[in-house]
Symmetry: C2
Subunit: 410 residues, 2 copies
């Protein structure tokens, strides 16, 4: 008996039958005596369909982001209503809420808004009245009443935020895979499902391209210590638990490997080496809402620096005008260059903190396979190598083999 | 220069091209120096599609009305966003609002809510900022924040309510017909478009089956003296103006004729003739949300009465259990009988108040054509005859000819 927040992604609510299957999971949890909150995404391809409509109307223009959000939130709103009906059809009581209706307040960064607060009062009232509460994922409302969307993976952010404010016992994240794998199983055939992983490891893996759960959701879960159980909505297999770190997790040197498939490196040459320059540059880039991957800075002999960083290929059109403005402002000697067709392969594990030789083992494995490493970046619990895009899948396989990730360790 | 509220129905916003055409009308009005508010319905068949989805999920159950409204309002929300984008694509500024976002507060009668108030502040702010304001028709919000729909013709109710609170110069109602006709042009080939018609006449015609504009919207327009201009969204023809009565409207004895095609007469025999009995009966029927057409009561010699009334054929399943309960309660002598396959042909005109002989002319024309009249009901400005359903179209034609409605009178 406890409070469970379940989340069903788009493929898990793609049609009436799947909605009923998800409803049955919620009902089953309620019948065990739990209070149940369900967060849902838009059905199947609905969001893509809405984007297609917007493009058809806005052929040679960029749709205003506020209106795009006004459009996109309807996808989840359809699902919450249908989910409530599906539960009703089974003779149980349910009530649906949009983000706005539960006071899920965000800033007004349309298309990638951040959650500021949730009014849990209305949710608890309904739970205490014996109802299953259905909440639209991915959406919020500004203090002025404009609707916003939370960006990529927004429904997971909703799941964890709701779990946190309600102090849920578990957030169950239902997807179309069995859990988190040691590597993308579409690339690495021997990839193994991980039973338990720490927030920090999951954070690194998410940031590195593991798409099941986004960084933001995991950060939030860590901050509020909400356990997440990633499960497959189509079966009853136990999934992967994402939890706080325990001492015996350190026995495992590398927990997983990940690949970012398509990156661009932006290099800015001859940056005057003044204090605060980097802060100015990356401040401008952040203002443009571009997420920067790894940053490398080398100071040259002539009191200038070379700064390079990687971004997702898809952000290229957004970043170019920003970088042009920056280089112009820094003076005539400063130049920008772009290298595309890059990838990044990484290994992650809290055990790295106490084990040595991990980096060497990775570099050697890649070298033996003639994969050229262009840049290396490390954190306390991960090692990343920038390589050419075409080497990506092969490199992931090599690294997975090198650390024998297919074998479960305890 | 003034304030114009335009409304585009579902067929006028059915696809990207039509949305652009509607957007261009709004822009054209704005470029003439007007402040422009646009009310839109859901695109084409969207509402039907959403209802189909709900039925698929709720196969053997009635979907909770709150959830049905939560579902249906998404239809209009999609249109407002796309309409704002279409205006943006033409280089003009627009902003979209749901019913909730402009504080269009209703009671909580889900699926047929009544408008209680509108917060005009937010609309005026945007208009004064030079934006075209797009508002979702058909929907509102309860004081508790639940979304509601306004029932059949709800978008027209929104149009007129917005026009009233903003004190608009005109409400332009764009449809797929050129205006209000002297009779349904699909039945009467010579039917003529009416240039101007009074609120009262339009009210009678709407109640009698003219489907372009619903009674509720006209009542509201009359109350707040908002002129409505019913126009065709596919051409620039002047349409029909619905306005306050002027003295010279009385020259026109009959303005239009209408046909209700499929009615059922419910007869209750041997009702004890006590004061208040009719109020009890029709109170019970109203509680069941059934709209009663004409009521006829005859008191018999034996201190009992026969009460009969007509309802739409589609309401038969709803009315039977209610009437059964009533007759049972009134005692064993009271019996109900149902006569189906009826129709009602009517003529309407404010000139009837000052002209005599209208009823006789109508009865004679029908008698000459051997159309049997079963019941007659009249108001100050209309005469209705209940006839058999198969005589309906013919009767409408006869009445139209008898009053020479095809000829414009001034």
């Amino acid at each position: 008996m406890g409070l469970i927040v379940q989340k069903f992604g788009g493929t898990s609510v793609a049609d009436a039958e799947r909605i009923h299957r998800a409803a049955n999971r919620a009902i089953a949890a309620a019948e065990k005596g739990n209070q149940v909150v369900v967060v849902v995404s838009a059905m199947g391809e609905t969001t893509d369909e809405l984007i297609r409509l917007a493009r058809e109307v806005c052929k040679d223009c960029v749709p205003p982001k506020r209106e795009m959000d006004q459009l996109l939130v309807t996808g989840e709103q359809v699902t919450i209503a249908l989910m409530a009906m599906a539960i009703h059809a089974q003779g149980k009581e349910a009530i649906s809420f949009t983000g706005g209706q539960i006071g899920l307040v965000t800033d007004n960064a349309f298309s990638k808004a951040r959650i500021q607060s949730i009014n849990k009062q209305r949710i608890f009232e309904q739970l205490e009245g014996g109802k299953i509460v259905i909440i639209a994922g991915f959406q919020g409302i500004t203090p002025e009443g404009d609707v916003t969307t939370l960006g990529r993976g927004g429904s997971n952010a909703t799941l964890v935020a709701i779990g946190a404010v309600l102090e849920a016992d578990v957030c169950e994240n239902y997807t179309d895979v069995d859990g988190i794998y040691t590597a993308d199983p579409r690339i690495v055939k021997k990839a193994r499902k991980i039973d338990r992983i720490s927030y920090d490891e999951m954070l690194e893996l998410s940031g590195l391209g593991a798409s099941v759960l986004q960084t933001r959701a995991v950060e939030f879960a860590k901050k509020y210590n909400v356990p997440i159980h990633v499960r497959n909505s189509q079966n009853d297999n136990p999934g992967t638990w994402i939890v706080a770190e325990t001492p015996n997790m350190e026995h495992i040197v590398v927990s997983g490997a990940a690949l970012k498939k398509d990156l661009i490196r932006v290099g800015i040459k001859n940056v005057p080496d003044h204090p605060g320059i980097a802060a100015t540059i990356f401040g401008d880039i952040a203002s443009a809402n571009i997420v920067v991957d790894d940053i490398i800075q080398n100071v040259m002999d002539d009191n200038t620096a070379n700064i390079s960083f990687t971004v997702e290929h898809g952000d290229l059109d957004d970043i170019k005008p920003v970088v042009d403005r920056i280089t112009k402002a820094l003076g005539p000697g400063t130049k920008a260059a772009y290298v595309s067709d890059l990838a990044k392969v990484s290994v992650v594990g809290v055990g790295m903190r106490t084990h040595t030789g991990v980096a060497q083992r990775m570099f050697k494995a890649l070298a033996d396979a003639k994969v050229n490493i262009q840049n290396i970046t490390t954190s306390e619990i991960k090692i990343s190598c920038i390589i050419s895009r075409e080497d990506g899948p092969k490199a992931l396989q090599i690294v997975h083999d090198a650390f024998e990730l297919e074998k479960a360790k305890t």
